[in-house]
């Protein structure tokens, strides 16, 4: 489909640790429409960072691809040679790593670190690089006179902006940002998200925003991809998924979130914890925690099915979603599920 900048199909990534094989991403399927911001959410360890890194093919040594495809503008990234893939990095796909603000090199000025991308990778001369660096600082809202500063001279929020500036350096089509606002205070978080959103609108960027916070997704993302234990369990328009979820995990996640605007209501935890990915359960991986699990759920593996326009969910009881939603809204449904 040409309106997608990226189509990920059946992606599998496994870490080998000793004799154990951790199936961190096990059949992940989702699309990134051109010019959209897509939130990739799920709890710690569900494979968000692994997916993000897989897309850049910069992965831990222990990680290996086990299958699937990643079509970027129609080209399967897994089929590219390392040299060709390297040409895409920064120019077409830029990655902002988790805790990027702490990964800037403390001994070099910001300008020097920008130059590494602009000159070495982008082939600019010094003058062009300087002009671009100033432009980038303007874009992310930092005074260009501070280009000569060292990372420690910036606050956490400013360093995060620098990381965004670095990602934007060579005008990529797709930016993958891993938890870009997680460690930041709400005011700074809001300013960073606004910056990202306006850049996306102005430059027609596509953005994958990895986060565990559905409030952040609700604030800036056009679409949401919900992961659970290495799989995509639901994806669709943010508004639809958050107001009309089809997967019980999405319903549970929503109930567990405090909402400053709602007047009352008890937060409801999802009892239990995600499965061990070196030995995941058969069938639906959410079944051990799901209040709606039935016998087939522990043997039959649910696949993503279309439940609406560009909205998919992987639950065996997807046809009963309306009824499950009503039950999921009640706290007692989630008590003693296990």
């Amino acid at each position: 489909m040409s309106d997608n900048i990226l189509c990920v199909k059946g992606l599998k990534v496994t870490y080998s640790v000793g004799t154990a094989r951790i199936r961190a991403v096990d059949d992940a399927t989702f699309d990134i429409p051109k010019g959209s911001i897509v939130g990739l959410v799920g709890e710690s360890g569900c494979g968000k960072t692994t997916v993000a890194r897989a897309l850049t093919r910069v992965m831990a040594k222990a990680a290996g691809f086990e299958g699937g495809e990643m079509l970027f503008d129609g080209v399967d990234l897994l089929g590219l040679s390392e040299a060709d893939m390297n040409k895409l990095r920064w120019r077409d796909i830029a990655f902002i790593p988790q805790s990027a603000m702490n990964s800037l090199d403390p001994v070099y000025t910001i300008e020097k670190q920008l130059n590494e991308v602009l000159i070495q990778r982008g082939g600019m001369n010094r003058r062009e690089a300087r002009a671009r660096a100033e432009e980038l600082f303007d874009m992310v809202g930092i005074d260009p006179r501070r280009l000569g500063d060292y990372p420690h001279q910036f606050s956490g929020g400013m360093r995060q902006r620098v990381a965004i500036a670095l990602a934007l350096a060579l005008n990529p089509k797709l930016i993958i940002a891993d938890e870009p606002v997680t460690a930041l205070d709400v005011i700074v978080q809001r300013q960073i998200l606004d910056t990202l959103k306006s850049l996306q609108e102005r430059l027609g960027l596509s953005v994958i925003l990895v986060t565990h916070d559905i409030s952040v997704v609700a604030y800036v993302c056009d679409r949401i991809v919900v992961m659970y234990a290495g799989r995509v369990v639901e994806s669709g328009d943010t508004e639809t998924v958050l107001t009309q979820p089809f997967h019980p995990y999405t319903m549970g996640l929503y109930n567990a979130f405090p909402d400053l605007q709602s007047s009352e209501g008890l937060l409801t935890p999802i009892e239990g914890h995600p499965p061990d990915l070196s030995d995941p359960p058969d069938g639906c991986r959410f079944a051990p925690r799901c209040p709606f699990a039935q016998t087939p759920c522990s043997t039959q593996n649910p696949t993503l099915v279309e439940v609406g326009s560009r909205h998919v969910s992987a639950c065996l009881r997807v046809d009963e979603a309306q009824q499950l939603r009503e039950q999921a809204a009640q706290t007692q449904t989630w008590m003693g599920a296990i």
Binding site: I187, L193, D194, L260, L267
Partner: protein
């Protein structure tokens, strides 16, 4: 303390905690200053804070990173001494407390730490970690196992035998945070300070710990300080909130009022910045200038003035004092 206006207060309860004009200044030697043989820099982590806590009250201490929340919490538990001012616990000055009185305070006032993985000794089994405060408090051996089981029950870790012989790394984050809470509650404190107790936990687990916190607090009648930078969480557990900025209180009042109608310019921005988990929300620019508060070099007068959209002459000259407005106290020249 007088309640000059509003409804007459039936009887002013004597506070459990009274914080009187507390300051905490740290001398920090920056490497550059040291190299240039300059005097070390002073961080005014807490700079003139006053409040009282009544029995059974849960108060949120809210503010961004570095505003002094943990420093305040540590002084309340006498893990750190204020540079100036005093803290009274049931009328007794913490600074002069010693001997049996201090030991009693150490049992009655407890901290629940942020990172359950750091709060417990990784080389201790859960049983050893739970036993430590009991043995420090000279509780008879015979009584300890029973106390441990009770505390584990309290935090809904039933069947403690299953956990007691485990090490921290053999438990999930949510289970560990329950152990950390059980350990803090085992001496039956009356006052607890919880420092971001769920910030390291996953959303699906958080809700359970927050509910547990509310339940235990209500059942034990605890007086509690809940430290967080997340207003939505504070609102969930505290009826009153104290908002801090750069070592000072900017607003103090009922949480619900603060959420619905924040008065101080900083609180207004803070409330507006909190994202909510549904798509219909305001994207209006925040009513505050971008900027990074620096505790080593705070502005004169009002600490917020370089970022405040309403700042006027007086704000640069004079530190705003507390102005009482109904149940609230606001520290801003717009209101005095």
């Amino acid at each position: 303390m007088t309640s000059a206006q509003g409804k007459a207060v039936t009887s002013t309860p004597s506070p459990v905690i009274a914080v009187e004009d507390i300051r905490k200044h740290f001398a920090v030697g920056s490497p550059i200053a040291a190299a240039m043989r300059r005097k070390s820099v002073v961080v005014k982590a807490i700079d003139g804070v006053n409040f009282t806590l009544n029995k059974g009250e849960s108060v949120g201490l809210l503010g961004e990173s570095g505003c002094g929340k943990t420093t305040m919490g540590r002084m309340l538990l006498k893990l750190d001494e204020p540079s100036e001012g005093r803290i009274l616990f049931e009328g007794d000055d913490l600074a002069t407390m010693q001997g049996p009185a201090l030991r009693a305070y150490r049992a009655r006032a407890q901290m629940i730490f942020q990172n359950p993985f750091e709060a417990l000794n990784p080389r201790f089994t859960i049983a050893q970690s739970m036993d430590e405060p009991l043995s420090n408090a000279n509780i008879a051996k015979a009584e300890r196992a029973d106390r441990i089981r009770k505390a584990m029950d309290l935090v809904h870790l039933p069947d403690p035998a299953q956990f007691l012989e485990r090490y921290p790394h053999q438990m999930s984050g949510g289970q560990l945070q329950r152990v950390v809470m059980a350990r803090a509650l085992i001496l039956e404190p009356t006052f607890v300070v919880a420092d971001e107790p769920v910030s390291m936990l996953d959303v699906s687990v958080r809700a359970g710990i927050l509910n547990l916190f509310r339940e235990v607090r209500d059942n034990m009648g605890l007086t509690a300080i809940y430290i967080s930078h997340d207003l939505a969480l504070v609102r969930y557990v505290c009826e009153r909130t104290i908002v801090m900025y750069l070592g000072c209180i900017v607003e103090d009042g009922p949480t619900e009022e603060i959420v619905k109608n924040p008065m101080h310019p900083y609180t207004k921005a803070l409330v507006a910045a909190v994202p909510v988990p549904h798509p219909a929300q305001s994207h209006a620019p925040l009513p505050i200038k971008a900027g990074a508060p620096d505790a080593r070099n705070p502005p004169s007068g009002c600490r917020l003035r370089d970022r405040c959209p309403h700042a006027f002459d007086r704000c640069a000259i004079e530190e705003p004092k507390a102005t009482r407005i109904g149940a609230r106290k606001v520290h801003c020249h717009l209101f005095d």
